[in-house]
Protein backbone atom coordinates (compact mmCIF):
# COMPACT_ATOMS: atom_id res chain seq x y z
CA UNK A 1 0.00 0.00 0.00
CA UNK A 2 1.27 3.48 -0.85
CA UNK A 3 1.94 6.23 1.63
CA UNK A 4 2.35 4.08 4.65
CA UNK A 5 5.67 4.34 6.42
CA UNK A 6 6.97 5.37 9.82
CA UNK A 7 7.17 9.00 8.74
CA UNK A 8 4.16 9.12 6.42
CA UNK A 9 0.91 7.65 7.60
CA UNK A 10 -1.44 9.52 5.29
CA UNK A 11 -2.30 6.29 3.49
CA UNK A 12 -3.69 4.82 6.71
CA UNK A 13 -6.76 7.03 6.71
CA UNK A 14 -7.17 7.58 2.97
CA UNK A 15 -10.10 5.17 2.61
CA UNK A 16 -11.75 5.64 5.98
CA UNK A 17 -11.09 7.73 9.06
CA UNK A 18 -12.52 5.01 11.30
CA UNK A 19 -10.29 2.58 13.22
CA UNK A 20 -12.32 -0.33 14.61
CA UNK A 21 -10.76 -1.77 17.77
CA UNK A 22 -11.15 -5.53 17.39
CA UNK A 23 -10.91 -7.76 20.48
CA UNK A 24 -10.93 -11.40 19.35
CA UNK A 25 -11.58 -14.07 21.98
CA UNK A 26 -10.88 -16.93 19.60
CA UNK A 27 -9.11 -17.22 16.26
CA UNK A 28 -12.34 -18.50 14.71
CA UNK A 29 -13.95 -15.09 15.22
CA UNK A 30 -11.33 -13.40 13.05
CA UNK A 31 -12.65 -13.73 9.51
CA UNK A 32 -16.36 -13.25 10.31
CA UNK A 33 -15.51 -10.09 12.25
CA UNK A 34 -13.17 -8.66 9.63
CA UNK A 35 -15.57 -9.47 6.78
CA UNK A 36 -18.40 -7.79 8.67
CA UNK A 37 -16.27 -4.64 8.93
CA UNK A 38 -15.55 -4.73 5.18
CA UNK A 39 -19.24 -5.20 4.39
CA UNK A 40 -20.01 -2.30 6.71
CA UNK A 41 -17.69 -0.11 4.62
CA UNK A 42 -14.74 0.06 7.01
CA UNK A 43 -11.91 -2.13 5.62
CA UNK A 44 -9.64 -1.41 8.59
CA UNK A 45 -8.98 -3.29 11.82
CA UNK A 46 -6.83 -2.69 14.88
CA UNK A 47 -6.58 -6.20 16.34
CA UNK A 48 -5.69 -5.87 19.99
CA UNK A 49 -2.96 -7.75 21.84
CA UNK A 50 -5.34 -8.10 24.79
CA UNK A 51 -6.03 -11.69 23.75
CA UNK A 52 -3.66 -14.57 23.12
CA UNK A 53 -4.72 -15.13 19.51
CA UNK A 54 -3.89 -11.59 18.36
CA UNK A 55 -0.78 -12.39 16.31
CA UNK A 56 -2.41 -15.40 14.66
CA UNK A 57 -5.52 -13.35 13.89
CA UNK A 58 -3.44 -10.66 12.23
CA UNK A 59 -1.64 -13.29 10.13
CA UNK A 60 -4.93 -14.92 9.13
CA UNK A 61 -6.56 -11.61 8.27
CA UNK A 62 -3.64 -10.47 6.17
CA UNK A 63 -3.60 -13.77 4.22
CA UNK A 64 -7.32 -14.02 3.59
CA UNK A 65 -8.24 -10.35 3.24
CA UNK A 66 -5.31 -8.67 1.48
CA UNK A 67 -7.31 -5.53 0.70
CA UNK A 68 -7.96 -4.77 4.35
CA UNK A 69 -5.69 -2.55 6.36
CA UNK A 70 -4.82 -4.58 9.46
CA UNK A 71 -2.79 -3.34 12.39
CA UNK A 72 -2.12 -4.28 15.99
CA UNK A 73 -3.52 -2.47 19.02
CA UNK A 74 -2.90 -2.43 22.77
CA UNK A 75 0.77 -3.05 22.04
CA UNK A 76 2.54 -2.31 25.32
CA UNK A 77 6.13 -3.43 24.73
CA UNK A 78 8.74 -3.99 22.03
CA UNK A 79 8.31 -7.78 22.05
CA UNK A 80 4.63 -7.46 21.19
CA UNK A 81 5.44 -4.93 18.48
CA UNK A 82 7.93 -7.35 16.91
CA UNK A 83 5.44 -10.23 17.09
CA UNK A 84 2.74 -8.07 15.51
CA UNK A 85 4.97 -6.93 12.67
CA UNK A 86 6.20 -10.48 12.02
CA UNK A 87 2.54 -11.53 11.76
CA UNK A 88 2.00 -8.85 9.11
CA UNK A 89 0.61 -5.89 11.09
CA UNK A 90 0.61 -2.81 8.88
CA UNK A 91 0.53 -0.36 11.77
CA UNK A 92 1.00 -0.42 15.55
CA UNK A 93 -1.17 1.33 18.13
CA UNK A 94 -0.41 1.65 21.87
CA UNK A 95 -2.62 2.93 24.69
CA UNK A 96 0.34 5.09 25.81
CA UNK A 97 3.70 5.95 24.29
CA UNK A 98 6.73 3.68 24.38
CA UNK A 99 10.08 4.77 22.96
CA UNK A 100 11.14 1.13 22.53
CA UNK A 101 8.01 0.37 20.50
CA UNK A 102 8.66 3.42 18.33
CA UNK A 103 12.17 2.14 17.65
CA UNK A 104 10.84 -1.25 16.49
CA UNK A 105 8.34 0.48 14.18
CA UNK A 106 10.96 2.84 12.80
CA UNK A 107 13.21 -0.09 11.91
CA UNK A 108 10.33 -1.91 10.22
CA UNK A 109 9.27 1.42 8.65
CA UNK A 110 5.63 1.08 9.60
CA UNK A 111 3.43 3.66 11.32
CA UNK A 112 3.31 3.86 15.10
CA UNK A 113 0.35 5.61 16.71
CA UNK A 114 1.12 6.02 20.42
CA UNK A 115 -1.37 7.18 23.02
CA UNK A 116 -0.58 10.68 24.30
CA UNK A 117 -2.80 12.67 26.64
CA UNK A 118 -0.46 15.27 28.13
CA UNK A 119 1.67 17.95 26.44
CA UNK A 120 4.83 16.19 27.70
CA UNK A 121 3.73 12.94 26.07
CA UNK A 122 3.00 14.76 22.80
CA UNK A 123 6.47 16.35 22.95
CA UNK A 124 7.95 12.89 23.36
CA UNK A 125 6.04 11.71 20.26
CA UNK A 126 7.34 14.68 18.26
CA UNK A 127 10.89 13.92 19.39
CA UNK A 128 10.40 10.42 17.95
CA UNK A 129 9.26 11.86 14.61
CA UNK A 130 5.59 11.07 15.24
CA UNK A 131 2.85 13.62 14.55
CA UNK A 132 -0.31 11.50 14.77
CA UNK A 133 -1.22 10.30 18.25
CA UNK A 134 -4.01 8.34 19.86
CA UNK A 135 -5.92 10.29 22.51
CA UNK A 136 -7.21 7.75 25.00
CA UNK A 137 -9.43 7.62 27.03
CA UNK A 138 -10.76 10.61 25.11
CA UNK A 139 -13.85 11.21 27.22
CA UNK A 140 -11.94 11.00 30.50
CA UNK A 141 -9.14 13.37 29.47
CA UNK A 142 -11.29 16.20 28.19
CA UNK A 143 -12.56 15.07 24.77
CA UNK A 144 -12.80 17.67 22.03
CA UNK A 145 -12.05 20.50 24.48
CA UNK A 146 -8.71 18.92 25.31
CA UNK A 147 -7.87 18.28 21.67
CA UNK A 148 -8.65 21.89 20.76
CA UNK A 149 -6.58 23.21 23.68
CA UNK A 150 -3.63 20.94 22.83
CA UNK A 151 -3.81 21.98 19.17
CA UNK A 152 -2.82 25.56 20.04
CA UNK A 153 0.82 24.76 20.91
CA UNK A 154 0.86 21.66 18.70
CA UNK A 155 -0.65 22.72 15.35
CA UNK A 156 1.35 19.99 13.55
CA UNK A 157 -0.29 17.18 15.52
CA UNK A 158 -3.32 15.10 14.50
CA UNK A 159 -5.31 13.06 17.00
CA UNK A 160 -7.08 9.69 16.97
CA UNK A 161 -9.57 9.99 19.85
CA UNK A 162 -10.64 6.63 21.27
CA UNK A 163 -12.80 5.86 24.27
CA UNK A 164 -16.13 7.58 24.71
CA UNK A 165 -16.55 8.12 21.00
CA UNK A 166 -19.68 6.47 19.64
CA UNK A 167 -22.35 6.77 16.96
CA UNK A 168 -23.80 9.78 18.77
CA UNK A 169 -20.72 12.02 18.67
CA UNK A 170 -18.72 10.47 15.83
CA UNK A 171 -19.65 13.17 13.33
CA UNK A 172 -18.67 15.93 15.72
CA UNK A 173 -15.19 14.43 16.09
CA UNK A 174 -14.72 13.78 12.37
CA UNK A 175 -15.74 17.36 11.54
CA UNK A 176 -12.62 18.69 13.29
CA UNK A 177 -9.56 19.01 11.07
CA UNK A 178 -7.32 18.12 14.04
CA UNK A 179 -8.82 14.63 14.08
CA UNK A 180 -6.93 12.19 11.85
CA UNK A 181 -9.35 9.37 12.58
CA UNK A 182 -11.58 8.00 15.30
CA UNK A 183 -11.00 4.70 17.09
CA UNK A 184 -13.41 2.48 18.94
CA UNK A 185 -14.86 -0.96 19.46
CA UNK A 186 -18.33 0.38 18.70
CA UNK A 187 -17.61 0.10 14.96
CA UNK A 188 -17.24 -3.66 15.40
CA UNK A 189 -20.50 -3.91 17.31
CA UNK A 190 -22.35 -1.95 14.61
CA UNK A 191 -20.81 -4.01 11.81
CA UNK A 192 -21.67 -7.32 13.49
CA UNK A 193 -25.23 -6.15 14.17
CA UNK A 194 -25.72 -5.23 10.52
CA UNK A 195 -24.28 -8.56 9.38
CA UNK A 196 -26.76 -10.31 11.65
CA UNK A 197 -24.06 -12.04 13.70
Amino acid sequence: MENISYTNISGLFARTRCVPVVVLKTLEDTLPTLKALCDYGIPTAEITFRTACAADAIRLGREQLPDMLIGAGTVINAAQARAAIEAGAQFIVSPGIGADIAEVCREADIPYIPGCVTPAEIMQALSLGITTVKFFPANVYGGMDAIKALSAPFPQVRFVPTGGVDSGNLDEFLACDKIAAVGGSFFVKLALQKSGK
Copy 2:
Protein backbone atom coordinates in the same frame (compact mmCIF):
# COMPACT_ATOMS: atom_id res chain seq x y z
CA MET B 1 5.45 -11.01 56.43
CA GLU B 2 4.62 -13.42 53.64
CA ASN B 3 3.76 -12.47 50.11
CA ILE B 4 5.38 -9.10 50.13
CA SER B 5 8.11 -8.58 47.60
CA TYR B 6 8.80 -6.33 44.63
CA THR B 7 6.97 -8.71 42.30
CA ASN B 8 4.29 -9.96 44.67
CA ILE B 9 2.39 -7.45 46.72
CA SER B 10 -0.71 -9.53 47.46
CA GLY B 11 0.22 -9.65 51.15
CA LEU B 12 -0.01 -5.87 51.37
CA PHE B 13 -3.78 -5.84 51.10
CA ALA B 14 -4.59 -9.22 52.63
CA ARG B 15 -5.78 -7.81 55.96
CA THR B 16 -7.27 -4.54 54.79
CA ARG B 17 -7.73 -2.82 51.46
CA CYS B 18 -7.38 0.58 53.12
CA VAL B 19 -4.12 2.59 53.03
CA PRO B 20 -4.20 5.47 55.51
CA VAL B 21 -2.00 8.37 54.39
CA VAL B 22 -0.33 9.56 57.59
CA VAL B 23 1.21 13.05 57.72
CA LEU B 24 3.09 13.45 61.02
CA LYS B 25 4.07 16.96 62.10
CA THR B 26 6.11 15.74 65.06
CA LEU B 27 7.61 12.40 66.03
CA GLU B 28 5.51 12.42 69.21
CA ASP B 29 2.35 12.04 67.12
CA THR B 30 3.57 8.75 65.67
CA LEU B 31 2.48 6.12 68.18
CA PRO B 32 -0.88 7.70 69.14
CA THR B 33 -1.77 7.98 65.45
CA LEU B 34 -0.65 4.47 64.52
CA LYS B 35 -2.37 2.93 67.58
CA ALA B 36 -5.58 4.77 66.71
CA LEU B 37 -5.46 3.20 63.25
CA CYS B 38 -4.96 -0.28 64.72
CA ASP B 39 -7.84 0.26 67.14
CA TYR B 40 -9.96 1.42 64.21
CA GLY B 41 -9.25 -1.90 62.49
CA ILE B 42 -6.75 -0.69 59.89
CA PRO B 43 -3.28 -1.90 60.88
CA THR B 44 -1.62 -0.19 57.91
CA ALA B 45 0.08 3.19 57.54
CA GLU B 46 1.68 5.06 54.66
CA ILE B 47 3.84 7.61 56.50
CA THR B 48 4.57 10.46 54.13
CA PHE B 49 7.96 12.02 53.44
CA ARG B 50 6.26 15.42 53.41
CA THR B 51 7.54 16.06 56.94
CA ALA B 52 11.08 15.91 58.33
CA CYS B 53 10.34 13.23 60.93
CA ALA B 54 9.10 10.65 58.40
CA ALA B 55 12.05 8.26 58.55
CA ASP B 56 12.22 8.41 62.35
CA ALA B 57 8.48 7.84 62.59
CA ILE B 58 8.71 4.76 60.36
CA ARG B 59 11.56 3.39 62.53
CA LEU B 60 9.61 4.06 65.73
CA GLY B 61 6.43 2.52 64.38
CA ARG B 62 8.20 -0.60 63.18
CA GLU B 63 9.92 -1.09 66.57
CA GLN B 64 6.89 -0.49 68.74
CA LEU B 65 4.13 -1.93 66.55
CA PRO B 66 5.63 -4.93 64.75
CA ASP B 67 2.23 -6.25 63.68
CA MET B 68 1.42 -3.13 61.69
CA LEU B 69 2.22 -2.82 58.01
CA ILE B 70 4.18 0.43 57.71
CA GLY B 71 5.35 1.96 54.46
CA ALA B 72 6.55 5.31 53.19
CA GLY B 73 4.54 7.69 51.04
CA THR B 74 5.19 10.81 48.96
CA VAL B 75 8.58 9.37 48.08
CA ILE B 76 9.83 11.48 45.19
CA ASN B 77 13.42 10.36 44.66
CA ALA B 78 15.81 7.47 45.16
CA ALA B 79 17.48 9.04 48.21
CA GLN B 80 14.17 9.18 50.07
CA ALA B 81 13.40 5.60 49.05
CA ARG B 82 16.73 4.45 50.48
CA ALA B 83 16.18 6.39 53.72
CA ALA B 84 12.67 4.94 54.05
CA ILE B 85 13.83 1.36 53.50
CA GLU B 86 16.74 1.81 55.92
CA ALA B 87 14.20 2.99 58.52
CA GLY B 88 12.22 -0.20 57.98
CA ALA B 89 9.54 0.82 55.46
CA GLN B 90 7.77 -2.30 54.16
CA PHE B 91 6.52 -0.65 50.99
CA ILE B 92 7.10 2.57 49.04
CA VAL B 93 4.44 4.82 47.49
CA SER B 94 5.07 7.76 45.15
CA PRO B 95 2.64 10.40 43.87
CA GLY B 96 4.02 9.74 40.35
CA ILE B 97 6.32 7.13 38.88
CA GLY B 98 10.10 7.22 39.18
CA ALA B 99 12.28 4.60 37.50
CA ASP B 100 15.11 5.30 39.95
CA ILE B 101 12.80 4.67 42.91
CA ALA B 102 11.62 1.42 41.33
CA GLU B 103 15.24 0.32 41.02
CA VAL B 104 15.88 0.95 44.73
CA CYS B 105 12.75 -1.03 45.66
CA ARG B 106 13.64 -3.88 43.32
CA GLU B 107 17.08 -4.19 44.91
CA ALA B 108 15.55 -4.19 48.41
CA ASP B 109 12.81 -6.51 47.11
CA ILE B 110 9.96 -4.54 48.60
CA PRO B 111 6.79 -3.36 46.85
CA TYR B 112 6.73 -0.07 44.96
CA ILE B 113 3.36 1.51 44.24
CA PRO B 114 3.96 4.41 41.83
CA GLY B 115 1.35 6.97 40.87
CA CYS B 116 0.19 6.57 37.26
CA VAL B 117 -2.65 8.51 35.67
CA THR B 118 -2.02 8.20 31.94
CA PRO B 119 -1.72 5.11 29.74
CA ALA B 120 1.92 5.98 29.04
CA GLU B 121 2.69 6.07 32.76
CA ILE B 122 0.96 2.70 33.25
CA MET B 123 3.04 1.26 30.38
CA GLN B 124 6.17 2.52 32.15
CA ALA B 125 5.05 0.75 35.36
CA LEU B 126 4.48 -2.49 33.45
CA SER B 127 7.93 -2.22 31.87
CA LEU B 128 9.33 -2.04 35.43
CA GLY B 129 7.46 -5.20 36.41
CA ILE B 130 4.81 -3.31 38.40
CA THR B 131 1.10 -4.12 38.04
CA THR B 132 -0.42 -2.22 40.99
CA VAL B 133 -0.41 1.55 40.69
CA LYS B 134 -1.65 4.49 42.68
CA PHE B 135 -4.19 6.64 40.84
CA PHE B 136 -3.82 10.16 42.19
CA PRO B 137 -5.53 12.62 42.36
CA ALA B 138 -8.33 10.19 41.60
CA ASN B 139 -11.17 12.70 41.57
CA VAL B 140 -9.32 15.12 39.30
CA TYR B 141 -8.27 12.53 36.72
CA GLY B 142 -11.67 10.95 36.18
CA GLY B 143 -12.25 8.71 39.22
CA MET B 144 -13.97 5.37 38.63
CA ASP B 145 -14.77 6.26 35.00
CA ALA B 146 -11.06 6.64 34.28
CA ILE B 147 -10.15 3.43 36.09
CA LYS B 148 -12.78 1.49 34.13
CA ALA B 149 -11.61 3.00 30.84
CA LEU B 150 -7.95 2.27 31.60
CA SER B 151 -8.80 -1.30 32.60
CA ALA B 152 -9.84 -2.15 29.03
CA PRO B 153 -6.32 -2.11 27.57
CA PHE B 154 -4.70 -2.91 30.94
CA PRO B 155 -6.68 -5.85 32.39
CA GLN B 156 -3.61 -6.97 34.38
CA VAL B 157 -3.41 -3.70 36.34
CA ARG B 158 -4.89 -2.98 39.78
CA PHE B 159 -5.38 0.56 41.06
CA VAL B 160 -5.07 2.29 44.42
CA PRO B 161 -7.21 5.42 43.99
CA THR B 162 -6.27 8.24 46.36
CA GLY B 163 -7.55 11.79 46.53
CA GLY B 164 -11.25 12.48 46.53
CA VAL B 165 -12.04 9.13 48.06
CA ASP B 166 -13.87 9.42 51.37
CA SER B 167 -16.39 7.69 53.62
CA GLY B 168 -19.16 8.56 51.18
CA ASN B 169 -17.77 6.76 48.12
CA LEU B 170 -15.36 4.28 49.70
CA ASP B 171 -17.68 1.31 49.26
CA GLU B 172 -18.24 2.12 45.60
CA PHE B 173 -14.50 2.03 44.97
CA LEU B 174 -13.88 -1.15 46.99
CA ALA B 175 -16.69 -2.94 45.13
CA CYS B 176 -14.72 -2.76 41.88
CA ASP B 177 -12.38 -5.70 41.26
CA LYS B 178 -9.91 -3.39 39.54
CA ILE B 179 -9.30 -1.61 42.84
CA ALA B 180 -6.49 -3.21 44.87
CA ALA B 181 -6.99 -0.82 47.78
CA VAL B 182 -8.02 2.74 48.54
CA GLY B 183 -5.69 5.39 49.94
CA GLY B 184 -6.46 8.54 51.85
CA SER B 185 -5.82 10.70 54.88
CA PHE B 186 -9.50 10.51 55.80
CA PHE B 187 -8.88 7.11 57.43
CA VAL B 188 -6.54 8.82 59.89
CA LYS B 189 -9.10 11.50 60.67
CA LEU B 190 -11.80 8.91 61.30
CA ALA B 191 -9.50 6.79 63.47
CA LEU B 192 -8.40 9.77 65.58
CA GLN B 193 -12.00 10.92 65.99
CA LYS B 194 -13.05 7.50 67.24
CA SER B 195 -10.10 7.36 69.61
CA GLY B 196 -11.16 10.71 71.00
CA LYS B 197 -7.87 12.44 70.09
Copy 3:
Protein backbone atom coordinates in the same frame (compact mmCIF):
# COMPACT_ATOMS: atom_id res chain seq x y z
CA MET C 1 18.16 41.42 35.95
CA GLU C 2 18.65 40.08 39.46
CA ASN C 3 17.29 36.84 40.75
CA ILE C 4 16.85 35.13 37.45
CA SER C 5 18.78 31.93 36.98
CA TYR C 6 18.03 28.27 36.35
CA THR C 7 17.66 27.61 40.07
CA ASN C 8 16.16 30.93 41.15
CA ILE C 9 13.30 32.33 39.15
CA SER C 10 11.84 34.63 41.80
CA GLY C 11 12.85 37.67 39.74
CA LEU C 12 10.63 36.52 36.89
CA PHE C 13 7.40 37.33 38.69
CA ALA C 14 8.61 40.18 40.93
CA ARG C 15 6.98 42.93 38.85
CA THR C 16 3.92 41.08 37.61
CA ARG C 17 2.48 37.61 38.06
CA CYS C 18 1.01 37.72 34.54
CA VAL C 19 2.68 35.98 31.59
CA PRO C 20 1.17 37.12 28.29
CA VAL C 21 1.43 34.43 25.61
CA VAL C 22 2.34 36.34 22.44
CA VAL C 23 1.77 34.72 19.04
CA LEU C 24 3.28 36.96 16.35
CA LYS C 25 2.25 36.33 12.74
CA THR C 26 4.77 38.82 11.35
CA LEU C 27 7.86 40.51 12.74
CA GLU C 28 6.20 43.90 12.20
CA ASP C 29 3.66 43.09 14.90
CA THR C 30 6.39 42.69 17.52
CA LEU C 31 6.99 46.20 18.83
CA PRO C 32 3.35 47.40 18.73
CA THR C 33 2.30 44.28 20.65
CA LEU C 34 5.08 44.48 23.23
CA LYS C 35 4.58 48.22 23.75
CA ALA C 36 0.85 47.67 24.23
CA LEU C 37 1.65 45.15 26.99
CA CYS C 38 4.00 47.63 28.70
CA ASP C 39 1.39 50.38 28.51
CA TYR C 40 -1.16 47.94 29.94
CA GLY C 41 1.15 47.46 32.94
CA ILE C 42 2.50 44.00 32.08
CA PRO C 43 6.13 44.37 30.93
CA THR C 44 6.48 40.63 30.27
CA ALA C 45 6.09 38.56 27.11
CA GLU C 46 6.34 34.87 26.30
CA ILE C 47 6.86 34.94 22.53
CA THR C 48 5.85 31.57 21.13
CA PHE C 49 7.85 29.43 18.73
CA ARG C 50 4.59 28.60 16.95
CA THR C 51 5.48 31.12 14.24
CA ALA C 52 8.59 31.41 12.09
CA CYS C 53 9.49 34.92 13.24
CA ALA C 54 9.74 34.01 16.93
CA ALA C 55 13.52 34.20 17.32
CA ASP C 56 13.73 37.45 15.35
CA ALA C 57 10.89 38.92 17.40
CA ILE C 58 12.65 38.05 20.64
CA ARG C 59 15.87 39.67 19.37
CA LEU C 60 14.01 42.81 18.27
CA GLY C 61 12.09 43.08 21.52
CA ARG C 62 15.22 42.69 23.63
CA GLU C 63 17.05 45.37 21.63
CA GLN C 64 14.26 47.93 21.56
CA LEU C 65 12.63 47.30 24.94
CA PRO C 66 15.43 46.42 27.36
CA ASP C 67 13.22 46.90 30.44
CA MET C 68 10.79 44.21 29.35
CA LEU C 69 11.15 40.63 30.46
CA ILE C 70 11.04 38.58 27.24
CA GLY C 71 11.07 34.81 27.07
CA ALA C 72 10.25 32.10 24.58
CA GLY C 73 7.18 29.88 24.69
CA THR C 74 5.98 26.69 23.00
CA VAL C 75 9.58 25.51 22.94
CA ILE C 76 9.38 21.80 22.13
CA ASN C 77 12.99 20.76 21.57
CA ALA C 78 16.58 21.61 22.44
CA ALA C 79 17.27 23.25 19.06
CA GLN C 80 14.46 25.76 19.60
CA ALA C 81 15.69 26.41 23.15
CA ARG C 82 19.18 27.19 21.83
CA ALA C 83 17.80 29.48 19.10
CA ALA C 84 15.64 31.30 21.64
CA ILE C 85 18.51 31.81 24.08
CA GLU C 86 20.82 32.97 21.29
CA ALA C 87 18.15 35.53 20.34
CA GLY C 88 18.16 36.81 23.91
CA ALA C 89 15.26 34.96 25.55
CA GLN C 90 15.39 35.47 29.32
CA PHE C 91 13.32 32.38 30.11
CA ILE C 92 12.01 29.31 28.32
CA VAL C 93 8.49 27.85 28.55
CA SER C 94 7.35 24.50 27.13
CA PRO C 95 3.84 23.06 26.84
CA GLY C 96 5.21 19.83 28.36
CA ILE C 97 8.49 18.86 29.96
CA GLY C 98 11.64 18.03 28.02
CA ALA C 99 14.82 16.89 29.80
CA ASP C 100 16.93 18.01 26.84
CA ILE C 101 15.44 21.51 26.98
CA ALA C 102 16.12 21.65 30.72
CA GLU C 103 19.76 20.78 30.04
CA VAL C 104 20.10 23.64 27.54
CA CYS C 105 18.56 26.07 30.03
CA ARG C 106 20.74 24.84 32.87
CA GLU C 107 23.87 25.40 30.80
CA ALA C 108 22.72 28.91 29.87
CA ASP C 109 21.60 29.40 33.50
CA ILE C 110 18.20 30.77 32.61
CA PRO C 111 14.82 29.68 33.98
CA TYR C 112 12.95 26.80 32.40
CA ILE C 113 9.22 26.50 33.07
CA PRO C 114 8.07 23.13 31.72
CA GLY C 115 4.46 22.06 31.43
CA CYS C 116 3.57 19.34 33.95
CA VAL C 117 0.06 18.02 34.53
CA THR C 118 0.61 14.66 36.22
CA PRO C 119 2.42 13.78 39.46
CA ALA C 120 5.00 11.81 37.45
CA GLU C 121 5.75 14.86 35.30
CA ILE C 122 6.11 17.03 38.40
CA MET C 123 8.52 14.46 39.88
CA GLN C 124 10.56 14.68 36.68
CA ALA C 125 10.69 18.48 37.02
CA LEU C 126 11.88 18.18 40.63
CA SER C 127 14.57 15.71 39.58
CA LEU C 128 15.80 18.38 37.14
CA GLY C 129 15.96 20.97 39.92
CA ILE C 130 12.79 22.75 38.78
CA THR C 131 10.06 23.78 41.25
CA THR C 132 7.91 26.11 39.15
CA VAL C 133 5.88 24.42 36.43
CA LYS C 134 3.33 25.42 33.83
CA PHE C 135 -0.04 23.70 34.24
CA PHE C 136 -1.55 23.48 30.77
CA PRO C 137 -4.30 23.18 29.61
CA ALA C 138 -5.39 24.20 33.10
CA ASN C 139 -9.14 24.05 32.51
CA VAL C 140 -8.97 20.61 30.88
CA TYR C 141 -6.79 19.00 33.56
CA GLY C 142 -8.82 20.07 36.58
CA GLY C 143 -7.99 23.76 37.11
CA MET C 144 -7.68 24.97 40.70
CA ASP C 145 -8.98 21.66 42.09
CA ALA C 146 -6.09 19.84 40.45
CA ILE C 147 -3.53 22.38 41.61
CA LYS C 148 -4.78 22.12 45.19
CA ALA C 149 -4.74 18.32 45.07
CA LEU C 150 -1.23 18.24 43.58
CA SER C 151 0.01 20.70 46.20
CA ALA C 152 -0.56 18.17 49.00
CA PRO C 153 2.33 15.87 48.04
CA PHE C 154 4.24 18.69 46.32
CA PRO C 155 4.22 21.63 48.78
CA GLN C 156 7.48 22.96 47.28
CA VAL C 157 5.99 23.40 43.80
CA ARG C 158 4.48 26.57 42.34
CA PHE C 159 2.23 26.51 39.28
CA VAL C 160 1.70 28.74 36.26
CA PRO C 161 -1.80 27.79 35.07
CA THR C 162 -2.42 28.56 31.41
CA GLY C 163 -5.40 27.75 29.21
CA GLY C 164 -8.89 28.54 30.39
CA VAL C 165 -7.69 31.36 32.58
CA ASP C 166 -9.26 34.69 31.64
CA SER C 167 -10.37 38.03 33.07
CA GLY C 168 -13.26 36.31 34.81
CA ASN C 169 -11.26 33.89 36.95
CA LEU C 170 -7.81 35.55 37.00
CA ASP C 171 -8.22 36.92 40.53
CA GLU C 172 -9.27 33.55 41.88
CA PHE C 173 -6.09 31.97 40.52
CA LEU C 174 -3.79 34.77 41.70
CA ALA C 175 -5.27 34.60 45.22
CA CYS C 176 -3.82 31.11 45.69
CA ASP C 177 -0.32 31.02 47.13
CA LYS C 178 0.47 27.92 45.06
CA ILE C 179 0.17 30.00 41.88
CA ALA C 180 3.47 31.60 40.86
CA ALA C 181 1.88 33.41 37.93
CA VAL C 182 -0.86 33.04 35.35
CA GLY C 183 -0.27 32.64 31.62
CA GLY C 184 -2.52 33.38 28.71
CA SER C 185 -3.02 35.05 25.38
CA PHE C 186 -5.98 36.99 26.75
CA PHE C 187 -3.57 39.52 28.29
CA VAL C 188 -2.41 40.40 24.78
CA LYS C 189 -5.97 40.81 23.55
CA LEU C 190 -6.84 43.10 26.46
CA ALA C 191 -3.67 45.16 26.00
CA LEU C 192 -4.25 45.60 22.27
CA GLN C 193 -7.88 46.53 22.85
CA LYS C 194 -6.88 49.21 25.34
CA SER C 195 -4.21 50.56 22.99
CA GLY C 196 -6.86 50.85 20.28
CA LYS C 197 -5.03 48.49 17.91
